[in-house]
């Protein structure tokens, strides 16, 4: 039952997975909440581990959510489910429409799809901020330190152009120093 939920969630996701992994978080979050796989806060942890590993964020997240919900068989099911659409679509596109990205219908579709992908990523940030107490601010040490970590992480990414993996690792060390 769980395996089927995982399969159809990630199989469907595979067909609409445009614009990078973070845009797929709202879909994973909706399913995780609906089927009770995990809380949004736990999902944030999974996305963090997905971001620390090589490989696509969406597929990595799917594997971790699958493992968390149903063990190794869940991880395998989720991986197969999210990869199948890729192989199907690539084979179809490669066999029939070689110049897909020059096609004007496809281009006008992406004219609306790309901004929506941006909305999905913004929505994912809002959802995660709500689930991790970043959205409510009080003047406690906890609240101020979280806001500082957020600001410094963003600074490291945008201005210092650090690799996200290093930012995550450094942030983990800061967390151990501050909160344990």
């Amino acid at each position: 039952m769980v395996l089927w939920q995982l399969f159809h969630t990630f199989f469907l996701l595979g067909f609409v997975s445009f614009g990078g992994g973070y845009a797929m978080i709202p879909l994973i979050e909706t399913a995780a909440t609906k089927y009770g796989w995990m809380s949004t806060e736990q999902l944030t942890n999974m996305v963090a581990i997905a971001g620390m590993s090589p490989g696509p964020i969406a597929a990595n997240s799917a594997i971790l959510v699958g493992y968390s919900a149903a063990g190794i068989s869940g991880a395998v099911t989720s991986a197969v489910a999210i990869l199948l659409p890729s192989i199907i679509l690539v084979s179809v596109v490669a066999s029939f429409f070689i110049k897909l990205h020059h096609h004007s219908v496809v281009e006008s579709m992406f004219y609306g799809l790309k901004p929506l992908v941006t909305s999905l990523i913004i929505f994912a940030a809002i959802k995660f901020a709500q689930a991790n107490n970043l959205a409510v601010f009080d003047f406690s040490f906890h609240s101020i330190s979280l806001l500082l970590i957020f600001g410094l992480s963003l600074f490291a990414l945008i201005k210092l152009r650090w690799n996200p993996v290093y930012v995550i690792i450094l942030s983990g060390l800061v967390g151990i120093a501050l909160y344990s």
Binding site: L12, S17, F18, G20, G21, P26, T30, T44, N45, M46, I49, G51, M52, S53, P54, G55, P56, I57, A58, A59, I63, L64, A79, I87, L89, V90, S91, A94, H101, V105, V106, E107, S108, M109, Y111, K114, P115, L116, V117, S119, L120, I121, F123, N132, L134, L146, I149, L154, L157, P164, V165, V167, I168, S171, L173, G175, I176, L178, Y179, S180
Partner: protein, 207 residues
């Protein structure tokens, strides 16, 4: 072993070796693909690689997986696509699974929990950064800005799957209407760089 199987095995192994470098996105694979596929195996030329990456972005799914599958398909048809996809996916599958298993093994440890309080906030920063990077190529006129804004609002009320379909349909309708009304429609950001040549893009896009 006959020739077809040798080729499939070569495809699998080539992408198996490339796969662990795909930190932060499939575009990181490009230099290695140039070396392994273009120079060493001579399966494709450089121009084909550019074409494959452009095409990979217009098909749903991760760029790394799609481009491997496209190259596999060029070399050995559907079987080739399958071999390349398995090759590119297996190493990262085992790495992420190993990390996940270790996480659940030490789950509940106070130090790990403390680390993740901070890491979760950093992940939100990474997602915000990804949104900024994506917006740079996606938002370039009033219509795209409005679609983005409406998209965020609408996502609080409808299923994300439906929102994605609506986004695609809205794009097609607005381009059609603009053309009907005699506006000139620019479908892409003029300053949009090819992400393949822009390391900034793949770091933020997190594909």
């Amino acid at each position: 072993m006959n020739g077809e199987w040798t080729k499939l095995l070569q495809l699998f192994w080539t992408f198996f070796k490339i796969s662990p470098v795909t930190f932060g996105g499939g575009f990181a694979m490009i230099p290695l693909i140039e070396r392994e596929i273009v120079e060493k195996r001579k399966w494709l030329d450089s121009e084909d690689v550019t074409e494959v990456f452009a095409l990979s972005q217009s098909v749903p799914g991760a760029v790394g997986i799609n481009s491997a599958s496209f190259i596999g398909h060029r070399v050995g048809g559907v079987k080739g696509a399958l071999a390349a996809m398995l090759g590119v996916s297996l190493p990262t599958f085992f790495i992420v699974l190993a990390l996940g298993i270790s996480y659940f093994f030490i789950h509940g440890n106070p130090k790990l929990e403390a680390a993740f309080v901070s890491i979760r906030v950093t992940i939100i920063a990474i997602i915000v950064y990804a949104a900024i990077q994506t917006a740079r190529t996606a938002i370039f006129d009033k219509t795209t800005f409005l679609i983005m804004l409406a998209g965020v609002v609408v996502l609080f009320f409808i299923h994300p799957l439906l929102a994605i379909l609506l986004g695609a349909v809205t794009g097609m309708i607005s381009v059609f209407l603009k053309r009907k009304l005699g506006y000139e429609v620019q479908l892409k950001h003029d300053k949009a760089k090819d992400p393949a040549n822009n390391p900034d893009y793949f770091m933020g896009a997190g594909i």
